[in-house]
Symmetry: D2
Subunit: 305 residues, 4 copies
């Protein structure tokens, strides 16, 4: 399969969609991103890499970092498995965002990929890590991606406008489901949101999820086969907010999106793929990114279904 040519076809076919979405504008640093940016990268288990466009340019991965967050939590908390007592793994199905659901369900977030869930996972990580911000970078570097850093401007902006996230942590703490300090949890969260990576780096670092939990190249086992399948399952059912069902229907790959316009997805046993295009649809997912991945599965015939 000539992936490079497929990437070029996809680029050609999605280009007419520029202008149909809106760049995230709740913080200044995201607002200023050039909406015309477009990058794609593929990494295969055969060791091949394919890139297109702005694949080597760093962008704010935002909620894509929730995959690293969950993976790290599963990796470090192997002994006690209390994570799943404190966060559920069901799709949220709630277009109104999550305070409503949190309240109805007594402070148990629906899954680790909604904000409340990611904040809860951070609280679990704080039990195990002494320097969560440093450990997170170290973890991603172990996934063979060194081109990663926290964008302090983004982290600060998130903090200044992060009242909704503060509401979530405070509410969960009021319900007894957050054990560490509110500010400590929020600080780590805003740092994760500010992680800057490239499409190439994202595809490379997520490849272990297509490889049963083992980092290709280094051979280092990060997660058990079972844990790896579980993350893929959660990406499929919960990876795209209230558009997860449609992404499964149209694309058929486990994946995760972020409001920076990035999406990463995997075909277990085959490859990982990352796209970046900043314009978002009303659900907060990249317009061109989703279309690009749909075209990818159509053209290659790859799909988990």
């Amino acid at each position: 399969m000539a992936y490079q040519r497929i990437l070029e076809e996809i680029h050609h076919e999605v280009s007419p969609l520029f202008g149909q979405g809106q760049v995230a504008d709740y913080i200044e640093p995201l607002k200023q991103v050039d909406p015309q940016k477009f990058g794609m990268a593929i990494e295969t288990l055969d060791g091949e890499c394919y890139q297109l466009g702005d694949a080597e340019e760093r962008f704010s991965i935002q909620s894509v970092s929730k995959v690293f967050n969950l993976a790290l939590a599963l990796a470090v908390s192997r002994v006690g498995n209390d994570l799943w007592k404190r966060v559920d793994m069901e799709p949220s199905g709630n277009p109104f965002n999550s305070l409503v659901q949190l309240e109805y369900e007594n402070g148990i977030p629906r899954n680790p990929f909604i904000n409340a869930g990611a904040l809860l996972v951070i609280d679990v990580l704080l039990d195990h890590l002494t320097d969560i911000n440093a450990d997170m970078l170290a973890f991603v570097r172990e996934l063979r991606c060194s081109d990663i850093h926290y964008d302090k401007t983004v982290a600060n902006s998130e903090k200044l406008t992060g009242y909704n996230n503060a509401a979530l942590v405070n509410f969960m703490k009021g319900q007894g489901n957050i054990f560490h300090g509110v500010d400590q949890v929020l600080d780590a969260y805003f740092h994760q949101c500010s992680i800057a990576m490239t499409c190439a780096g994202l595809a490379r670092s997520m490849l272990f999820l297509a490889n049963g939990g083992v980092v290709p190249g280094s051979g280092k086992r990060i997660l058990t086969v079972s844990q790896t399948k579980q993350i893929n399952a959660i990406m499929l059912t919960c990876g795209f907010y209230d558009e997860s069902g449609k992404f499964a229907y149209r694309v058929g790959m486990p994946g995760k999106s972020g409001v920076g316009g990035g999406i990463v997805a995997v075909i277990p046993g085959k490859l990982s793929i990352a796209v970046w295009s900043p314009e978002l649809n009303k659900n907060g997912n990249s317009v061109l990114g989703i279309k690009a991945l749909e075209l990818f599965t159509t053209k290659t015939g790859l799909s988990i279904f």
Copy 2:
């Protein structure tokens, strides 16, 4: 009408209810209150005072302070009337407390007597007052009640466990409906909750609401006739959380309760009455307090209906 004798009859008739409710236990200082405490006080526009039991003992008035909060806001914000753009005046009808409703209604609290609404009113007050905590005490003293102070132990306990209130303020700030600092708003709120007064003081200080907004004795006008009726209307429709309808049905007086076990109510043109009994029903209202007021209206035939 021999009010003193009626008070004694009421005391006799409600006594069998001791033990049917639970003292508030979310903070230590409330938990330690003797559940057997019972006080009543009546102040009439004729200048008469009647008391029974622990009517001169101070207790934590908690949410009863929301009436002072709203009255002060109406008093100081006479010019701009933007209060009602930022908080509604409808019953909340929500047994799940208010984060759900706040989210569905984009950060506009349903009324000034739910927590979110009181926090919002404080934010309005902060526009007008330089020392809100001192000004609040001064305001109540103007209502002819000098036996009032903040109970610092209560205020600190509220603060230590006040995550749900922090969630409310943060959420509203995220929605753009809180203009001052989160901590500043919360501090004033926890102070208000910690106000300690006696039944006698409560009845006296609320008498202006039965008198068209004018403090009997001093003759000082606090609110216009119209504003006074409005507070009474809001007390009637929203004064007892999710039991407001039943209180109107059973008692038929505008009033407000607090989880300290206090209730204050008025018969416009006639009198004000305060009860204190710490045991609460599942809605957070005083078991004996509500029954006492029901008996009061039955025995006297007084009712706004």
Copy 3:
């Protein structure tokens, strides 16, 4: 107090509001009503009557009939008081209408004045009455109003479009809270909605609610003093859908509105008043009707607060 002159002043002052609302359009017969209609009628306990405009013209009273429905249920079910086990008396506080609340609260309607609650009250009435439609007319005639009939065109139109009400009855029956046949309950409900009366008739028939439950003139006791106060309390807290709080705040009278543009209200111990003006605000209450009643209480100084 020169009520006639006050009515004329009110008429003059509300006239500029014509055109600000929308006539109900979900069924043809309501859609065709002349939006310029305006009538008012007052009946006092002194035996005086005042009228203005179209006060003698019949219109579709719609949900105002829910007051008769509840009053009749209280009148006939004096023995068993199981009504309040099957319907609550709290404001609904739900702008989304009532299926949501019904489901969260297991088929117990919030109060007798929302659709679900009125349907439930009918189910209770069906236990006691052999011909509910005839008995309802007889009941209102006993209230000294003979100018009343069912408008079959309206009843049929309601039936043809009444799927939401059918959903409510079916849901409550599924929850075990409706004992009679779905169609039987709906038929009586659609009949009640179709009752046509005049402002004069409405004011006259509701006067017993200002008179402690006794029909002035005939002296017949319909309800106990206590039951009468309870209906007034429920009208005050629940009579205007999600605008009940604002009506209490602005007007300060127990009352009930209907989407036909009619409103009836009472000042206990004094009078009853009815207004009709078909243009509705977004909450389904008459724009001119509410303003007229607000002016009435302002001009007369009458208010329960």
Copy 4:
């Protein structure tokens, strides 16, 4: 892979779970089913069949029929694709069942596998089919399963207690999203729920979903490759009510369950598998059935992830 032996191991390992669930009891015919029943059947694309226990005994497939319902709708409505304008494909995420969500989303069901969604799909089918009940049986027979019939006792019981489903259809019709008669839609729905099949028949008839839409053996194409993937995606994200996420996490196969205790699932490109065990967990899914499928994927290493 020695499937027969694996089936036997599974049977052995799940047996201790008997007694942990509850047989469905909302209708008499389900209540009377022997809770000890247990059957499994596998059909592979290689043409092999494996069975265990009560695999040849017919049971009420209940909501498993929603897969046939959706497949038939996609098969007959190839031209106009308005189905997805009237029903969404997102997980419902709503533990309260679906009236709440239906109301918030204006009568658009979340997906075709919740009751509201299946009723909507039937309404679409009624546009295309002249005898929906007969056509449905014919459709399943085309899938090489002849051992199928409607259990009239079940259908009648469903009808007698089906008030919640009647509420759903009425509500959607009130919202303009149901075009056919309420009773007509319900009748077809209750018939589908009453379909009786065997594990062997279920596995055989669903095998086309593992085969890109083509019935193995006959070679008849029922759906396009793309439509087939889409049904699998919807089964994965929505097939197990509010346990869909956990099923994906634990089992990793697209599937669908019913309150009769049946579950069917597929591994695309490989096989289909059916289990029957009547005891249900609190989410309405078969306790032993889910465990059996989890063991199956663990023992075989098969999973879409």
